[in-house]
Symmetry: C2
Subunit: 280 residues, 2 copies
Amino acid sequence: MKEVNSIPIGMAQWLAKDRNACPKFNLSLMRFHSLSISLSLLISEAHMKILEPFRKCSHCNSLSKCLFKNLDAGALFEIEKIKRINLYRKGSILFSQDSPALGLYVIAKGKLKVSTIDYEGREHISYLATVGDIFGHHDIFIEGTHRYSTTTLEDSMVCFIDKISVQKILELNPRLFQNIFERFNFELDGLRAHEQSVISKKAKARVAELLVQLAKQEIENKHEKIKIAANLTRVEMASMVGIASETLIRLLSEFKNEGIIEISGKSLTILDEKKLLTFA
Amino acid sequence: MKEVNSIPIGMAQWLAKDRNACPKFNLSLMRFHSLSISLSLLISEAHMKILEPFRKCSHCNSLSKCLFKNLDAGALFEIEKIKRINLYRKGSILFSQDSPALGLYVIAKGKLKVSTIDYEGREHISYLATVGDIFGHHDIFIEGTHRYSTTTLEDSMVCFIDKISVQKILELNPRLFQNIFERFNFELDGLRAHEQSVISKKAKARVAELLVQLAKQEIENKHEKIKIAANLTRVEMASMVGIASETLIRLLSEFKNEGIIEISGKSLTILDEKKLLTFA
DNA sequence: TAATTAACATGACCTGTGTCATATTTTACT
DNA sequence: AGTAAAATATGACACAGGTCATGTTAATTA
């Protein structure tokens, strides 16, 4: 099993861990090693500038995809006051399986993998989460623990609101229940579809499916050629569809030989999506 | 594919379809063939007696397992006024995949299978639902369609509340959101566990798991010997764990030869649960 | 009660996919 | 840059489990 930075939450930690700065957000910061310095002191000018467009929910670039998308200005203002924005370096863990659920996480920027460890210690990735996806909504009303771990695949920014505050917000904005219901449904549908796929489809079909799905998540979707830059290892991709990594590798080669995809290192490019879909 | 009574909903239909009366509820009714007669006229004395303990939520024997379990008397009274109690004969369909979701169903008595049909026409049973289980909560706030079909495995009684009424009840009793959240979580956990199982366990382990799970649903759980009376065909059991029926049959024989279970027709008896668990 | 059908059971066979071994390439670290 | 360690790739092999065929038993229907 891969060892990952297991330090949780928070900009202070992020800064402390930061060595080469955060490439995604194009920062080059001095290094801070002392966590005893108060958080506010640690925040540089550069950081402030980066957080700015996310600090005000009403002006957030990701609002349309956010859980709080259709709330009125007043409600958004309340949320702005309570929420914390955390930065995570690539490879760090938001929370891990069986840890107590503390509140609600909303991804503002970045990409995460949602995974569980099975009884034999193998990692199973359920899905990749991205902007607008939320965690912790399962346990708003109960003293529960997370059923899965979330790990950043790239440098990411995540808004956090503690449980009690979420309850208060919900009380004042029952509209939000609909959004959460929507989210629950989305997850249920996804799980059902995935289970069906695992049960009734062969490995090749599932890999085709995975590629199409990963391609869909890419924003630079301009032309026919879609480059998948999820930055997943073969082992991770395999664990998303429940097959051995060797099988995945073999199938990728097959697709390559059939002229459907192009492989260059970690990055895959889909050349013929139509043909790919016939397999899925 | 098996053809099932595809008549939906309602006591009127149930009565109309009834031939040998409803064994479970010990009814012997005259036969009604005309649906044009108003519903109330169709309800016999015997029926009234059977529905009685379910009509008043506050006195319902299944209240502790119901979605409405921890509501105050006033709220329950409101629900009593709106809800409809429907009877279904064994093998009839509450609702089927892709049909519009009309409201909330709560199982008051009986047992149902929850299933989907995959792209190749094969049935996949997700789980067996029983007293207290609910359907339609997914679509309370949206104009959605059911993602699966539900079919009664025995004569069953189901309370129904239309969507609009559910919304009103929720507005007045936000406590209910917690119950629904709980339900969502329960389903998600179940799905996750099942998917994990399908991905990482072999057929034998999954069948062992299934048997244990089915045994747990039996109420006559007194002694070590647990009789499974779910009344499922081998094909249905196989479709619950995603294997071919032949494989299931073979594995059941194996368990029989190992002295773990006893088979006599449809009814299975678990003789050695401990040993069974070592496989799961 | 016989007749028909559906469900159950078992054998033969074959393919997909996991496991293990090993080589090659890429990435990370000093 | 050079070395160590992952990650990727490919081959050999075994076997779990799907499919098909066929027989047997149980459940319906006439």
